[in-house]
């Protein structure tokens, strides 16, 4: 089939539109980042060499190409700072996602079992925080968690603590902020999965001798796994790259990769290393994405 044949048909055009979007807004920018990650830092404008300048002719282009190197990636592997940042990011994401799943699942389950007319209201309550800017909500948490904040005032008033507790700039505050911010992303896919489950399946399980608890683990939970997968990935992937919440709520003694990246980029002005860090982060996150894709495909095959 000729390219002409493809483009004259609106259906074909709409089919390739997402790819055009991906190329223009993901692949091309990623190409830039990748190229910068292979360059060397320099005090210049832009702050790296070599810079491709096509007006200088092909020879200069070839020279620039030869100047690219993997040095930045070697630096990432050799310096503890980066490896620790990556590790911390993965640990924080894993712990947060686990907490999100443990809190989110019962909420989604409860929502799915509400009478129909209440489900819409519960859904609204989950989504309502989105109406306020994310940053404002994090600043509100700072207000609540600070030395003379609401939380300490309440704890002191209830005589649960003798002196104000340090909440801010701790990992607890960071986890609180992350769980609070990402909870809707965990609840919504779980709820969607649980709400469409046939109630007759649980009746069948109970009819066949399964206690309510066993029926949950044997029927409800396995059937909600695609929702669990979606929720886990929707939370895990952005949390790995999270920058704002750890920056505002966590202490500064250990950094997540997002913060390290920011430091390299804005404080050290080392665009190439920052870019290399970003490329590695992306590669790390492709693994769970591939896993999820495979999971979904298996789901589709099952339904086919």
């Amino acid at each position: 089939m000729s390219a002409r044949g493809i483009f004259t048909r609106p259906a074909r055009l709409s089919a390739i539109a997402p790819y055009l979007w991906m190329v223009a807004f993901f692949l091309v920018p990623f190409g830039f980042v990748l190229k910068i990650s292979l360059s060397q830092t320099a005090i210049a404008q832009p702050p790296y060499t070599p810079a491709f300048d096509l007006t200088q002719g092909f020879g200069a282009f070839k020279a620039a190409l030869a100047a690219l190197s993997l040095d930045n990636f070697r630096l990432l592997v050799s310096d503890n700072l980066y490896i620790l940042s990556y590790l911390r990011s993965l640990v924080v994401a894993a712990v947060s996602t686990s907490i999100l799943l443990i809190i989110g699942y019962p909420i989604a389950y409860g929502m799915a079992r509400l009478p129909r007319r209440w489900q819409g209201i519960a859904m609204m309550l989950v989504i309502v925080p989105f109406w306020t800017s994310f940053l404002i909500r994090i600043y509100a948490w700072i207000n609540i968690l600070q030395h003379d904040g609401l939380l300490n005032k309440v704890l002191l008033a209830l005589h649960l603590v003798a002196a104000p507790v340090v909440w801010l700039s701790t990992d607890s505050a960071m986890y609180l902020g992350i769980v609070y911010s990402y909870l809707p992303f965990m609840i919504l896919p779980l709820y969607a999965m649980l709400a469409k489950m046939e109630p007759a399946l649980l009746e069948a399980a109970s009819d066949l001798g399964a206690s309510p608890r066993r029926a949950f683990w044997l029927v409800t939970f396995p059937l909600s796994l695609p929702g669990v997968g979606a929720g886990v990935l929707l939370c895990f992937i952005p949390i790995v790259g999270e920058f704002v919440i750890p920056d505002l709520l966590a202490g500064s003694n250990s950094l997540m990769i997002g913060q390290t990246l920011w430091l390299e980029f804005f404080t050290n002005k080392d665009w190439p290393v920052a870019s290399a860090a970003a490329v590695v982060l992306l590669v790390l996150l492709v693994a769970p994405l591939v896993f999820y894709d495979r999971l979904q495909r298996r789901q589709l095959e099952g339904n086919g």
Partner: protein, 382 residues
């Protein structure tokens, strides 16, 4: 002292105690009494059908037997024990669900084995039982499929095998064939009967399809508005309905209201507004009311050009009505006619097409004599 054992004591008259006794059961949903002081006995080994229009409470009754609903009043005795408040997973009954409710994440084998595993059966025994069930419903070779990879008929079989696997004391079937097409439904009905007879198990089926109920069941309980209208064999239900409602609900019927005039020699004369005076066989139970309805099934009404060949002995006893054919529906096996009687009322008749070329077929607007014998009439008081 032995003869002083009170009735109902275990072992006293075990043979007479039904396997399943529903005793004055009431179930309310808000203000609505879905099941209203209903009592019913189902014998061991019986194929019992609960038949009724939608919303009559038959599914609620079945769900109470399974344990998914708890009766507000009354008892449900299974083998002498009240199970009304026993949780579903602790009852020795199993249910085949309307839309099968197969576990989509489990294979055919695991679906069938689900109940056996819960019962704590050893693995080797489970394998034997599953193989037995798979053979019983003719699903060999499909054990590793998931429900989504099965046809409607195959799913139905898995659901049946799964509900039979635990060998329940009573198998409950909730509209088990509703999702199948007509041909498959009919053959499955026969298989279901055969299976029930072979296993000697007690089946209680809920259906809104009267043909299905009449085909499969030994006895049918017809429900309306939360209570049983009549419990009878299919033949009794059809030929001797107890009320107008039953007569009209089960099959087609011609109903003529009238007054009891006189009786002589096993005959009652009933004068009706729409069909003149009808001679009917005197019912076994004496009529107590004067206003009654005469019911005649359409296939008992014969049509002819001149009326029945006169037979000196009982010619006077045969009911003859004259009219004009207004409607002819050829249905293959039989043809139904609508006859507008001279009184203005409509009479329905259906006749089997026993010959391929029928010179006796009637056309619309043809004048005919419709006749039926007194024995074919049923007198209904309510």
């Amino acid at each position: 002292m032995a003869e002083e054992i009170p009735k109902g004591e275990p072992g006293a008259d075990a043979a007479d105690v039904p396997l399943l006794r529903i005793d004055a059961v009431v179930k309310k949903f808000g203000m609505v009494r879905a099941v209203d002081r209903l009592s019913l006995d189902v014998r061991a080994g019986e194929f019992f059908a609960l038949l009724g229009p939608s919303g009559c409470g038959k599914t609620t009754l079945l769900r109470m037997l399974a344990g998914f609903e708890t009766p507000d009043e009354g008892r449900i005795l299974l083998d002498g024990k009240d199970i009304a408040r026993v949780l579903p997973h602790q009852r020795p009954v199993n249910m085949m669900f309307q839309n099968y409710a197969l576990f989509p994440h489990l294979t055919v084998r695991d679906n069938i084995a689900f109940g056996l595993k819960r019962a704590g059966m050893p693995r080797s025994q489970i394998d034997t039982r599953v193989a037995e069930m798979v053979a019983l419903v003719k699903l060999e070779g499909l054990e590793r499929r998931k429900p989504d990879q099965l046809s409607g008929g195959q799913k139905q079989r898995v659901a049946l095998a799964r509900s039979l696997a635990r060998r329940p004391q009573v198998l409950l079937l909730d509209e088990p064939l509703a999702a199948l097409d007509k041909k498959l439904r009919e053959s499955t009905q026969l298989e279901l009967m055969e299976l029930q007879r072979r296993l000697g198990m007690t089946f209680v089926i809920v259906t809104h399809d009267q043909e299905e109920a009449m085909t499969v069941a030994d006895r049918i309980g017809v429900m309306d508005a939360g209570h049983l209208e009549q419990v009878a064999t299919p033949r009794e239900l059809y030929e001797a309905p107890q009320s107008r409602w039953i007569a009209e609900f089960v099959g087609d019927i011609n109903l003529f209201e009238g007054q009891v005039e006189s009786g002589e020699a096993g005959r009652l004369m009933i004068s009706t507004k729409d069909a003149g005076t009808i001679s009917v066989a005197e019912p076994r139970q004496p009529i107590t009311k004067t206003i009654v309805a005469v019911a005649i099934r359409p296939e008992k009404v014969k049509l002819s050009r001149r009326g029945p060949a006169s037979d000196a002995v009982n010619a006077h006893a045969i009911n003859r009505l004259e009219g004009v054919v207004t409607d002819v529906s050829y249905l293959g096996g039989l043809t139904t006619y609508k006859v507008k009687l001279d009184t203005g009322a409509t009479l329905r008749s259906s006749m089997a097409n026993t010959a391929r070329i029928d010179i006796d077929a009637y056309n619309a607007s043809q004048r005919v004599v419709a006749w039926f014998t007194p024995d074919d009439c049923v007198v209904l008081e309510q």
